[in-house]
């Protein structure tokens, strides 16, 4: 396992003539329906570190890959939504457990992707793990916070409960490759939505490693589907897909905001948007008050109100 930052990630052999083991490099793949396919298109793109050095080739997912991911998410939705809240909470908590075991790898990858020195990268990764824990704990509480019993003026027991919206498309933050992504991903997941996530385009690798964590956790295949690729190719397909119920446009580039939101309107998608006043690159994901929000969970919930008769 990698221990010392970029060198390990890039897998360069030593050039000083001493015998050093040639590292086994990782192929960074898509994550669809619990499997790790390459893009069906056979395309990839070169990912560079913050310092400009080439790190790896990432899959350049196609429209078809995205449609496959939506199908996988749709199929996984009934099972994930039907799990007991406590079970879902435990499953997501386990993601944090497994991330903890891969801390060093994440530190190296986030450091390389975001150009952070180790102490800072470590802080970011630790916070990403803690954020899973924070959101996981909401699984069996959010209904009590957001639901209600309503005193109607008629003989009915009337109550309102939140239900997950369905398939949520996430355009993950472009800048914060892991912590930002986790903050936006955990919120819809914890309530029982399934997700198709587009990683940061320029910093996709920590997200791919996260998929390896998800695959070995108890999160069922298809609940989270992760695509790397180009925003201009993928975002319009995601926003325009009729079987995507909601979209998180946090990471959509300014230039694509209007088109994305217009496409989302065409089938009345639920939108969770970054305010135009918030600069994507400057958002402080380390600020718990800013990034740990029940409102972000609520954005992907539907409120159902039931009138149950009272009487013999």
């Amino acid at each position: 396992m990698a221990t010392n930052g970029r060198r390990a990630v890039t897998g360069r052999a030593s050039t000083n003539g001493t015998v050093e083991r040639i590292e086994v490099r990782k192929t960074y793949k898509l994550y669809i329906g619990g499997a790790f396919p390459r893009s069906e298109s056979g395309r990839s793109y070169l990912v560079r570190g913050a310092d400009g050095t080439a790190i790896a080739n990432a899959c350049r997912a196609s429209r078809k890959d995205l449609r496959d991911a939506v199908r996988a998410a749709r199929n996984a939705f009934p099972g994930w939504a039907a799990k007991t809240a406590m079970n879902r909470g435990q499953v997501l908590y386990r993601v944090a457990e497994l991330m903890e075991g891969r801390r060093d790898q994440f530190v190296a990858e986030v450091g390389a992707a975001e150009g952070l020195r180790e102490p800072r990268a470590r802080e970011v990764v630790d916070r990403a793990i803690d954020r899973w824990v924070w959101y996981a704990g909401w699984a069996d509480k959010i209904t009590q916070i957001l639901g209600s019993s309503n005193p109607v003026a008629a003989p009915y027991f009337n109550f309102t409960i939140p239900e997950p919206t369905g398939v949520v498309g996430i355009v993950a933050p472009e800048t914060s490759s892991l912590l930002g992504l986790v903050s936006r991903l955990a919120a819809p997941l914890v309530s029982g939505n399934t997700v198709v996530l587009l990683t940061s385009e320029t910093r996709p690798l920590p997200a791919v490693t996260l998929t390896e964590v998800l695959a070995t956790s108890d999160v069922p295949g298809g609940v989270v589907n992760v695509l790397t690729g180009l925003r201009r190719e993928l975002v319009p397909v995601l926003a325009g897909h009729d079987d995507v119920d909601a979209i998180d446009t946090w990471g959509v580039p300014e230039a694509m905001r209007l088109e994305t939101e217009q496409l989302a309107s065409d089938d009345v998608k639920r939108l969770s948007r970054r305010p135009t006043t918030v600069n994507e690159a400057r958002f402080d994901w380390l600020d718990d008050r800013a990034a740990e929000r029940p409102e972000w969970i609520a954005a992907f919930l539907e409120m159902k109100t039931v009138w149950h008769p009272i009487g013999a």
Partner: protein, 507 residues
């Protein structure tokens, strides 16, 4: 309701239902006497202006349009036709009030204003009910017993929230969004106004509201209530005009919040219109609700519920139970009973206190209903209409029942917004769920069964925002209302209805 003032006769139909044993469709020798509500409680002006900054003003350029009584096709009044310049004036007035007067009031003071409005609505309830029925065509017993009292209670409910917002959003400070643009439909003009304005004002927003062009009068009478309540000028502004004016309002750059109730088609356009901005948006759109009747349902109660579900307000209800799903084993019985019951429905003068189904709101809507019903026949469904007499003038449509309907038929898929019921059948609960959810809409659903656990199981499987069990079309200010899927997003009513009008900040 029926017979509340009567001392002698049992409510009676004009033709004998089968169950009476007099022979099918036999005319029976008695009838209701006409019981028209007096119109003179309403004083109509010849012309109505726009209500901007606390005063009635003519539209820029002075254009008007006419609002007619759909039951008589007679004009009621000339209404100012707003222009984009007027939209701008109204938004400015609202902004000013939000900054300087309404937005500066404490929640406690806002609450007292809203209680005041609620009280005035109660005091002037008869006037509002008559005017609403004249302008919209809905039966007086509905405007009197449903629309107006619910509108008043909606203001009452949200009045109490105005100074208790901290308790609605624990851990957060709720701030008003600012200026709300609100666009409402013609099916429940005053009630939709209340659903929009009450939570907006409670949270400290100011509003510009555009009523539908065929039903502006109750909103303009409400403007008088605002004056009577001494509401700070600009807090509520009401502009009248065609749909383009609604779009101009929704997309006005100084509007912070858009709330729209209406068709899914227009809702999507409004979504496009506010795309790329920071405007908050809630949409309450169309529906094609399933009303599911199981074989253990209390049948007579269910029949009343089915009738109320689809013929209430001429079926011009977004949450109408327009698809009846009956368990196959009781389908024949239910359909027979429904036909019986249909023969006793009274269609006619909306101002008559005995009328069950009034006038269709407009000629355009009547044409749309007629066209969709024709498509049902053309696609092979079996049509049933009771042999009731319709008034010679006005926009009326017979209560209509289609049997032998396939899920692919337009009448089973498209929102008709008229008194037209499509009957489908199912065998198992799974099939009922599948058929009920087989629509792009998701506003409401009904479940009829004697078994409480089945109610809750079915309710949890409905992709719908409101589920009525052994009842239908019930509303309450404390009860959140709104849709799944293409029926929109956001909730109106209850604590959840406040959320649509606040910005939450960290403490």
């Amino acid at each position: 309701m029926a017979g509340r003032n009567s001392t002698s006769v049992i409510p009676a139909p004009d033709r004998a239902p089968n169950s009476w044993g007099l022979g099918d469709g036999q005319a029976i020798p008695w009838d209701y006497a006409p019981a028209p509500e007096a119109r003179d409680i309403v004083t109509l002006k010849d012309r109505y202006g726009l209500f901007i900054n606390g005063r009635f003003v003519p539209a820029t350029g002075g254009d008007t349009f006419v609002s007619i009584d759909p039951a008589t096709e007679q004009p009621l009044a000339a209404i100012a036709r707003a222009t984009p310049v007027d939209v701008d004036k109204a938004v400015r007035a609202a902004r000013r009030a939000q900054r300087r007067s309404w937005g500066q009031l404490s929640g406690r003071e806002r609450a007292k204003y809203l209680f005041r409005i609620s009280r005035i609505l109660q005091e002037r309830s008869r006037e509002f009910a008559v005017l609403e029925s004249m302008d919209s065509g809905k039966p007086i017993k509905e405007s009197r017993d449903v629309d107006v009292p619910l509108a008043a209670s909606h203001f009452w409910y949200y009045a109490g929230w105005a100074d208790k917002l901290d308790y609605a959003f624990p851990g957060r400070v709720a701030r008003p969004l600012g200026v709300a643009a609100q666009i409402i439909p013609w099916n429940f003009p005053l009630l939709m106004l209340a659903w929009k304005i009450a939570p907006a004002l409670a949270a400290g927003n100011t509003v510009v509201l555009k009523p539908a062009s065929t039903t502006p009068l109750s909103a303009l009478l409400f403007a008088e209530v605002c004056v009577q309540a001494d509401l700070p000028p600009g807090t509520v502004n009401i502009i009248t005009g065609p749909g383009e004016i609604g779009m101009a309002l929704a997309t006005h750059r100084d509007v912070d919040k858009v709330a729209f109730t209406g068709s899914t088609e227009i809702g999507k356009k409004i979504g496009r219109g506010v795309a790329g901005t920071d405007k908050a948006l809630t949409l309450e759109l169309g529906g094609k609700a399933a009303n599911i009747v199981f074989d253990d349902a209390p049948l007579d109660q269910a029949i009343e519920g089915i009738v109320n579900g689809i013929y209430f307000n001429q079926g011009e209800v977004c949450c109408a139970g327009s698809r009846l799903l009956v368990q196959e084993s009781i389908a024949e019985t239910v359909i027979d009973k429904l036909k019986d019951r249909l023969s006793t429905i009274r269609v006619g003068d909306p101002l008559d206190k005995n009328t069950d189904v009034g006038a269709i709101n407009s000629k355009a809507q009547l044409e749309k209903i007629t066209e969709l019903v024709a498509s049902g026949v053309a696609e092979g469904a079996d049509l049933y209409q009771p042999a009731c007499d319709l008034p010679e003038r006005g926009y009326f449509f017979r209560p209509t029942l289609f049997t032998n309907v396939a899920q692919s038929h337009r009448i089973a898929r498209e929102e008709i917004f008229g008194p037209v019921l499509s009957v489908l059948t199912f065998r198992t609960p799974d099939e009922a769920v599948e058929k009920a959810n087989n629509t792009a809409y998701g506003l409401s659903a009904g479940i009829w069964t004697d078994k409480g656990s089945r109610i809750l199981e079915m309710a949890s499987r409905m992709k719908a925002g409101v589920v009525w069990a052994n009842t239908f079309n019930r509303f309450d200010p404390t009860s959140p209302f709104g849709g799944y899927k293409e029926s929109g997003f956001g909730r109106e009513g209850g604590m959840h209805g406040l959320h649509a009008y606040v910005r939450l900040e960290d403490r």
